[in-house]
């Protein structure tokens, strides 16, 4: 039975620990199985290692101990099938929106014509087909993040890792991008691991929320969010939504208390 769970998981953490060099333990005893189609959000105080979890999955950093399987293989070998969206849009300033979107294809040696068509398609998906020739400095923060999403989706990843992608945006833009992200997911069908500081964003997007604690980073509690997808903006106004937000906030308060004590 555990074997079946392991093979069916998109991501499987077994007693994973992580420290950087000789530093203190950043993550301790992480056990986690991400199922296909999950939208898992990691939330917790600063220093709880939530971004580190994503870095381990992406293969940017290796786990120090324990087993980590991504898409049935090692994190590095699974890179072709996953994409990372960074906190800042990380667009190359010397490329247009289109040039940035086609970058993953260019790195794979796809022909120019094919790249252009695909980039156009992805930019249309995020509603930016009209500004495909703009350079990043001409785009607003929200538009840059849309380009970043489009770029991440050009290779149709099975797993999308998002590290506080909307953290720097104003709340209205953030809400709209949350809705768009879910709409895109209806079509693109990726599994997502998402890091945020915003409780309401976590509840709106995810079917599972992992509340993490710091020193060392560990999973404190899991909250299931059972609102069916597709979710619409008006979900946020319902009492059930508010109840979930309160529940997650209460858990966060628990893990943040020791710091103030």
């Amino acid at each position: 039975m555990p074997l079946m769970v392991a093979t069916a998981s998109i991501v499987q953490f077994d007693a994973v620990r992580k420290r950087y060099g000789d530093g203190p333990l950043v993550l301790e005893g992480i056990n986690l199985a991400v199922a296909p189609g999950d939208f898992i959000t990691l939330i917790g105080p600063s220093g709880c290692g939530k971004s580190t979890v994503l870095k381990l999955v992406s293969g940017l950093n290796p786990a120090s101990e324990g087993g980590l399987t991504v898409l049935g293989t090692t994190p590095k070998q699974a890179r072709d099938r996953q994409a990372f969206i960074f906190q800042d849009a990380t667009l190359l300033p010397w490329h247009t929106a289109e040039g940035n979107t086609e970058l993953p294809l260019r790195l794979r040696g796809v022909t120019a014509a094919e790249r252009k068509a695909k980039a156009r398609e992805m930019l249309a998906l995020v509603g930016l087909d009209k500004v495909s020739g703009y350079y990043p400095r001409q785009l607003s923060g929200g538009m840059k993040m849309r380009v970043s999403i489009a770029r991440a989706l050009t290779l149709a990843p099975e797993l999308l890792l998002l590290d506080e992608p909307f953290g720097a945006l104003d709340e209205m833009t953030r809400n709209r991008l949350n809705e768009e992200l879910l709409t895109i997911r209806e079509r693109s069908r990726f599994t997502a691991m998402f890091v945020t500081h915003s409780v309401s964003e976590a509840v709106f997007l995810s079917n599972r929320i992992l509340v993490m604690a710091a020193n060392p980073g560990r999973i404190h509690a899991e909250v299931k969010v059972e609102f069916p997808y597709p979710r619409r903006a008006d979900l946020r106004a319902t009492p059930a939504f508010q109840a979930r937000v309160n529940e997650v906030s209460r858990l966060l308060h628990q893990v943040e208390l020791p710091i103030h004590a």
């Binding site: 940017l60 990372f84 990380t90 300033p93 790195l107």
Partner: protein, 264 residues
């Protein structure tokens, strides 16, 4: 696209220039110095006009050496920086020696250069190259190792090869640094060529360059003409800087923040 410069940007240099020239005249009349020790700006302009055929021909000759040395430094500097950017050990192994090369006074090296490259244009080009090479290498190398770590992570995540990372990420993001290095080299190249001509002798192009004129006006105690030669070499420097500014604009204006306009 029209850019409206702040009017002050134009007025201030003119104001400071007028003040400087006034001060110059004041010092000259107040001190009672002779024209051959401190010529007035007017006397310098006069000398420049009298000697303009020689000055222009010499400037043309100097330009050849300066341009060749500058282009050599620009291409070799780019290539060397690429090499240094590729590996930490190459950087550790070679960079100190580049510094040593830069710190050795050119005046010491010039006789050796003449010995090896021969007098005339080859020697002048070598001196020019030597003096303008290091700022280009230093800037470009700094640019290659200053790439945004998130961009590097993005490339690693996309399984980019080292070559792709270099050509598609590090080199483009180092362009502002490279161009800054070229700009410094642009001010140095004419100086290098003139110094080279002064040291290497008058054999370049028959009539000699500005460096030869410096030598000849100095021995003839034609001091206003010497000042006019300095003025001419400044103009040469300005041509170089203007050319690099144009290149800078062509490469960067579309995307780089230094060309950000306030109107959007």
């Amino acid at each position: 696209m029209k850019k409206t410069p702040s009017i002050l940007l134009w007025i201030l240099p003119v104001v400071s220039g007028v003040l400087f020239v006034t001060l110059w005249y004041a010092v000259r009349s107040g001190s009672g110095l002779q024209s051959w020790i401190l010529p007035t700006p007017g006397e310098i302009i006069d000398a420049a006009w009298r000697e303009h055929t020689r000055l222009l021909r010499a400037a043309g000759n100097t330009m050849v050496g300066a341009l060749a040395g500058f282009l050599l430094a620009g291409t070799l500097g780019f290539a060397t920086a690429l090499l240094l950017g590729v590996s930490r050990s190459l950087r550790a192994g070679l960079y100190p020696w580049l510094l040593v090369l830069q710190m050795t006074p050119v005046i010491v090296l010039t006789p050796i250069i003449v010995l090896w490259a021969g007098p005339g244009l080859p020697g002048i080009i070598t001196v020019t190259w030597l003096i303008s090479f290091f700022p280009i290498v230093a800037n470009m190398t700094q640019g290659l190792v200053s790439t945004d770590m998130n961009h590097v992570a993005l490339f690693r995540m996309a399984n980019a090869s080292r070559l792709q990372e270099m050509l598609l990420l590090r080199v483009p993001s180092a362009m502002p640094y490279y161009l800054a290095g070229l700009r410094i080299a642009a001010t140095l190249a004419p100086i290098g060529a003139i110094f080279g001509e002064y040291m290497v002798g008058n054999s370049a192009g028959g009539s000699g360059g500005l460096g030869f004129l410096v030598y000849s006006y100095n021995t003839q105690i034609k001091i206003p003409a010497l000042f006019a030669t300095a003025l001419t070499s400044c103009l040469l420097g300005f041509i170089f800087v203007a050319a690099v500014s144009l290149l800078n604009w062509a490469v960067l204006h579309k995307w780089h923040d230094s060309y950000e306009r306030d109107d959007h």
